[in-house]
């Protein structure tokens, strides 16, 4: 109730108040990017760095501008794989966390296996997954999923376990059912902890998607990277790296924004 009131109050007051800091932040971001671009361009020119090590930023951007379709297609494909894998990993991770909380026996039995599963080099696993699922979008999403679900499981469990037992007892005494307890108290209380894992998973799922594409695909940022390596086109490689950076930062920022919105009581660390 009080949370709902706080939310409406905040939304009402928000109006223009957040617009000014957001604009300021945007301005600083653009300024920072401009400075970075200038330093990059200047350093390459000043130290006469050979383009096979570090091409000029303008040369990289020109490469992208020359064939934008390939990069846009690769970007969207990798984004889709990342998102599907991430979403599946989050759902399974949160469900695992709830399951492990309810059934400690299962937790003790499965958790060590999960830990061991994370020591498997993702690329070797990728080879097997591509074999199992064929060279499809799904196979790449499975690899992204595999990297995401573990941190989400761990943090969901940690968050659920750290709920104040007195609060649980209070809700119980009001006759709250197990489901109400979970939805109204425990999951919201665990949310800050879960979001720590979501931010980590945002980066990891992108790694999974890119590495997954190395097993012979036709579109995707990973494919562009690998083909550029074989043909030794450093500029193309940097173009793909920039696209990956854009995708990674954008996704991370989106998750952080969702965190600000959902965890509005500001438990961020």
């Amino acid at each position: 109730m009080s949370a709902a009131l706080a939310l409406t109050a905040r939304r009402g007051a928000a109006g223009w108040r957040w617009a000014a800091p957001a604009l300021l932040w945007l301005g600083r971001l653009i300024l920072g990017l401009a400075i970075a671009a200038a330093v990059w361009e200047g350093a390459v020119l000043a130290f006469a760095i050979r383009p096979e090590y570090l091409p000029r930023l303008s040369a990289i951007l020109a490469t992208i501008a020359a064939t934008p379709e390939a990069y846009v297609a690769g970007f969207l494909r990798t984004l889709l794989e990342t998102l599907i894998g991430f979403a599946a990993g989050v759902v399974v991770g949160v469900l695992n966390g709830i399951l492990f909380l309810r059934a400690p026996v299962l937790r003790d039995m499965l958790f060590p296996i999960f830990v061991v599963s994370q020591t498997i080099p993702v690329i070797a696993f990728g080879a097997l997954v591509v074999l199992w699922f064929g060279n499809t979008l799904l196979a790449k999403a499975v690899i992204a999923f595999y990297l995401t679900f573990f941190p989400v499981t761990v943090n969901t469990l940690l968050g659920l376990q750290s709920v104040d037992p007195r609060q649980i007892a209070l809700l119980r005494s009001f006759g709250a059912s197990g489901r109400q307890l979970l939805l109204r108290l425990m999951l919201p209380a665990a949310l800050p902890q879960i979001f720590v894992a979501l931010r980590l998973g945002a980066s990891l799922s992108l790694v999974g998607a890119i590495v997954g594409e190395w097993f012979g695909d036709t579109t995707g940022l990973g494919v562009i990277l690998l083909q550029a390596m074989y043909t030794e086109q450093v500029t193309v490689m940097w173009a793909a790296i920039l696209c990956a950076a854009l995708l990674g930062t954008g996704f991370y920022a989106a998750v952080s924004l969702a965190e600000r919105w959902l965890v509005f009581w500001g438990a961020e660390q």
Binding site: G32, A36, T119, V122, I123, A124, L128, W132, L225
Partner: protein, 245 residues
């Protein structure tokens, strides 16, 4: 033995049994899922090859781990000692870090060649980020008032760092170092798969190309065992060093 450990062992044993049962019971072809016994037998047959490959991978991972840890902690210390450098170093680190490390591996292979050095460079990068970020978070965690108190007793910057910030940051640094153990081996193997002369990643790549999926699983088992051992050793050292937790 504690109840958790027993249950863990039981879970592992059940998984192996289930795996063995599914693989043998349904007579799955080895390219779908080879039986555990088959994989273990293959590890024994290929032991010479796997030991050489594992040694190369471990060497790369350990060297990169050492460099990465040293660089990460040093960089975080520099930022703490020279506060003005934070706004210069941090954005650069964040920008480089925004790209998944795997995306750099083709580039690093072109720069350093397919020998051992390219793997060490990439492991250094991956470990360096992890340790740097956790070290910085640890140093920053110190209460401003505690620093002021020590200062008021005439403690110099070095002594504040050594006596206050480092002990406070060690648990977080150690947590970062533990995560980095597994990461170091995985990054080494990923880079080896794109091009190498030896190593577990190279063995996996050759097995994939040769459609030898028992071979892939054998190398996976060895890699997993190495990661767990490395993780265990660092965890053990952590418990010895950070006794006050």
């Amino acid at each position: 033995m504690s109840r958790e450990a027993l249950r863990g062992l039981l879970g592992g044993a059940l998984l192996v049994l289930l795996w063995e049962g599914v693989a043998c019971g349904f007579a799955l072809p080895s390219y779908t899922l080879p039986a555990v016994s088959e994989i273990l037998a293959s590890i024994w047959v290929q032991r010479a090859n796997l030991i050489t490959g594992g040694a190369t991978t471990l060497l790369e991972a350990l060297a990169g781990y050492a460099f990465g840890t040293a660089i990460g902690i040093t960089l975080a210390t520099v930022i703490i000692v020279l506060p003005w450098s934070r706004s210069a170093i941090l954005p650069v680190v964040m920008a480089v870090n925004s790209v998944p490390v795997a995306a750099y591996s083709p580039l690093v292979l072109l720069w350093f060649g397919i020998g051992v050095s390219s793997k060490i460079a990439l492991v250094t990068l991956a470990v360096g980020f992890t340790v740097f970020l956790s070290a910085l978070a640890g140093f920053d965690r110190v209460d401003r008032r505690s620093v002021d108190l020590l200062r008021s007793f005439g403690a110099g910057q070095a002594s504040v760092l050594w006596r206050l910030r480092l002990p406070a940051a060690l648990p977080l640094i150690a947590a970062g170092m533990r995560v980095a153990t597994v990461r170091s081996l995985i990054v080494a193997i990923v880079t080896e798969m794109l091009g190498a002369q030896s190593g577990l990643g190279w063995i996996i790549y050759q097995a994939v190309v040769g459609i030898d999926f028992v071979g892939v699983w054998s190398a996976i088992f060895v890699a997993s065992a190495l990661s767990l051992a490395f993780f265990g050793v660092i965890g053990w050292i952590e418990r010895k060093v950070i006794f006050w937790r």
